[in-house]
Subunit: 348 residues, 2 copies
DNA sequence: CCCCGTGATTGACACGTTTCAATACCCGCT
DNA sequence: AGCGGGTATTGAAACGTGTCAATCACGGGG
C-alpha cells in the first residue's frame, strides 16, 4: 500500500527523522525531553512516529546509557502464593515508574540464584530485589559490585551500610503465636519446621521459645521440633504422624508450623486420620496466604504484610536509583496474629 | 590491591582483550565460537575474563544481533495459582535454552496488556507467550508484526496460519462435569460463571449443556447461570446466596463453577451458613489448583494440565525460533475430571 | 627458494540510540 | 545595519558487541 514501506528491516529513529524532515537527535529529543523542541516539529515528528509505527529499540538506549530500565526480582518459588503476593507489590510500584520487572525463580537452589544474578548483571539491570536462598547473600553482594543495586528481601542479612533490606520480625511472630497458645492453655507444643538450617524457621522457633519463657514455661521441655524436607503441604501431611507421636502423656496439644503450606498439610493429614483441628490438635500457621481463610476450620496464622513487603522493597530500590542523597535503610515489619478456627482452648 | 584496577567504568570486552594481549574480535570468538580459536589463546582469554571479573553486556550483543535473548510471558493474574504453575512450565523449558523469562502481569486489563506488548517490542524480545485478556488477540498480532513471534496460550483464537496456540478443550471439560453430575443423579445444576463475556466461561457452560443434552435432559430448564464480578474466592462466597436461591422446588442440587477459586469460595460460603458440601449441595470446580485437594471435603474438579500447558507453549515458541522449517501448530489438551469429596449422590 | 593452502587473528564497521558542543535562526535593541 | 541573546536544530561522537573480509604466520610441496 504505502510505497515507502521498506524491506523488513525494522524502522529506526533515522527513518522517523527522514520522514519528518529533521535530524535523529531531534526525534530523540521529542521522545525524551519534549520541552526542548518546538511545537510544530514535535507534532510533525509524532505524526511520523505514528505513521511508521515506530517503537524504539531499548538495546540502543541501554547501550548508550549503560543502564537498562528493568529491575530483577529473584524469588524462591513462583508457585508459592506468599511470593506471588510479594511480586504483585513489587510490580505495582515498579509500574508507576515505568520499570519492567524481570521475575526470576531460584526455586530455592543456589545455582539457579547464581544464574539469575549473572543474567541481571549481563542485562545491566537497574536494580534487583532478591530473596536469597538460605540467607546466602553472596550473589547480592556480587551484583552490587557489578553496579546493580540490590535490595535484600525477607531473608539473610547484610549490614545496613551495604544495602537496603526489608524484613519481617520473625521472632515477634513466633512470640505472638506462643502467647496465643498459652492463653488457650497449651503447654506442650510442637514446632513443625522446614529443612534444617533455614534461618527464618530458626528465628520463628526462637520467638516461640521466648514467648513461652516469658510466662515461666521451660521451653526445653515444652517444645519439641520436627523437621520436614520442604516447606510445602505434602511435607506437612506426611509429618502429622511424627507430630502426634510421643505417647499419650507427651502428645502435644498444639502445633506451630513454620509455614501456612505446612499447616494446611497438617490439617489435611489430621482429617485423613479421622482427627480434626482444633478438637484433637490446635494448629497455627505462618504467612496468612489466601487459602488460610478458605479451609475449614479457618487457619489461625501469623500474618505477614506480603504485598506491603514487595511495595516497600521496590520503593527502597527506587529511592536508591533516583535519590542522590540516598542512605541505606533497614525496614522491619511486625507480623500480626490472625485468629481463626484451627486453635481452641486446651481441654486435654 | 590490583594496580590495574581502573576507575569505576565497567570492564568491557576491550579491557579483556588488552589484558590477554589479543584483539576484541578474538575475545568475542572465545565467547561465541570457541572452536575457531586456538587452545593457547582461549585459555589466556579465559583467564583474563576471570581476573577482571568480566560479564558481557547484553545491550551491545542485542543491539548487534537485533534480537534479545529473553522471552515474555504475559499472564492474567500473577497471584492465581493456575497461572503460576503455567509460568513454572514456561520457565523450566526456557531455562534449558538459556532464555530468560520476563513475566508481565496484565491483571486482566487491556491497557496493561498493551503496555506489556509495547515493552516486549521495545526490548526486541525473542518471543512471547501470551494469554490474552478476554480473547483479545490484537496485541499478539501487533507483536508479530513487530517481529516478535508469539504463541497464544489458553484463551482467544487466531487462525493456525497466523501463530501457534495451546489450549485446553473447555467444552470437553464442561461435558465431563455434566456426565459426572448426571451419574450422581443431579438434574438441576447451577453454572457459576465469571464476568459476562469471558470466552472460557461460555465454552465450559456450553460443554455442560451438551453433556446434559446427550442423555436427554433439556439444558434450558436444567441449568441456571449465575454471573460473578471476578473469578476469585470472594466472589464465589458472595454468590452462594444467589446460587441457592429459587425456592425449595427449584433449588439446585449441584453447582458447577467456572473456576476453583469460585468453588472454594462457595465451599466457604456454605460453611458460614451452616450448610456443607456434598450434603446440601454438590460442588464442582475447574483447574485443580493445589488448594483443591487441601480443603475438606476435597474439591471435585476438572483438572487442567497446567504445567504441561506452559511447557508446550514454550516448546512451540522455541521451535518457531530455532527451526527454520517451522509450521504453526495448534495444540489442544483434554482436561480430566478429578473426583473428590465435594460431590455425592443426589438424595434430594 | 618460492608458492600456496590452511588456520588463527586482526581491524574496521555496523547496530540504534543519546548527548553535547557547535551552528543556524529569529527577534528586538542600539 | 550590526549586535547580543535566546531558542531550535544539527552533526558527530560515543556506548559494547558481533561479523567478516583481509592479513598474518607457518609449513609442506614443488
Amino acid at each position: 500500500m504505502e510505497p515507502s514501506e521498506r524491506a523488513d528491516r525494522p524502522v529506526g529513529i533515522n527513518d522517523v527523522a527522514a520522514r519528518a524532515g529533521v535530524s535523529a537527535g531531534t526525534v530523540s529529543n521529542v521522545l525524551n525531553r519534549p520541552e526542548r523542541v518546538s511545537e510544530a516539529t514535535r507534532i510533525r515528528v509524532e505524526r511520523a512516529i505514528e505513521e511508521l509505527d515506530y517503537v524504539r529499540n531499548s538495546s540502543g538506549r541501554n547501550l548508550r546509557s549503560g543502564r537498562s530500565d528493568s529491575v530483577g526480582l529473584v524469588v524462591l518459588d513462583v508457585t508459592n502464593p506468599f511470593f506471588t503476593e510479594v511480586a504483585q507489590g513489587v510490580e505495582d510500584v515498579a509500574a508507576e515508574d515505568g520499570l519492567a520487572v524481570v521475575l526470576l525463580n531460584s526455586a530455592e537452589r543456589r545455582d539457579r540464584q547464581r544464574r539469575s544474578a549473572r543474567l541481571l548483571a549481563e542485562q545491566r539491570a537497574a536494580g534487583a530485589v532478591v530473596m536469597p536462598v538460605d540467607g546466602d547473600t553472596e550473589d547480592l553482594l556480587w551484583l552490587r559490585k557489578q553496579g546493580v543495586c540490590g535490595v535484600l528481601l525477607d531473608r539473610g542479612d547484610v549490614g545496613p551500610e551495604t544495602a537496603c533490606s526489608v524484613s519481617v520480625d520473625n521472632r515477634a511472630g513466633g512470640a505472638a503465636a506462643a502467647r496465643h497458645l498459652i492463653g488457650l492453655g497449651h503447654e506442650r507444643v510442637t514446632f513443625l519446621s522446614g529443612p534444617e538450617g533455614l534461618e527464618q524457621c530458626r528465628t520463628r522457633l526462637q520467638g516461640l521459645r521466648e514467648g513461652l519463657a516469658e510466662v515461666g514455661i521451660d521451653p526445653e521441655s515444652a517444645v519439641r521440633v520436627v523437621h520436614t524436607a520442604q516447606l510445602n503441604a505434602e511435607s506437612g501431611e506426611k509429618a502429622v504422624e511424627e507430630v502426634l507421636a510421643g505417647g499419650p502423656g507427651r502428645r502435644p496439644t498444639a502445633v506451630f508450623c513454620a509455614n501456612d503450606q505446612l499447616a494446611l498439610g497438617v490439617l489435611k493429614g489430621l482429617g485423613e486420620r479421622g482427627l480434626s483441628a482444633p478438637a484433637d490438635l490446635s494448629v497455627v500457621g505462618y504467612d496468612d496466604v489466601a487459602t488460610a481463610s478458605l479451609v475449614h476450620p479457618g487457619l489461625t496464622t501469623v500474618a505477614q504484610p506480603k504485598y506491603e513487603l514487595g511495595c516497600s522493597a521496590m520503593r527502597l530500590l527506587l529511592s536508591e536509583l533516583n535519590d542522590p542523597g540516598h542512605r541505606h535503610e533497614r525496614l522491619r515489619f511486625t507480623p500480626e496474629l490472625v485468629v481463626r478456627g484451627s486453635t481452641a482452648v486446651n481441654r486435654g
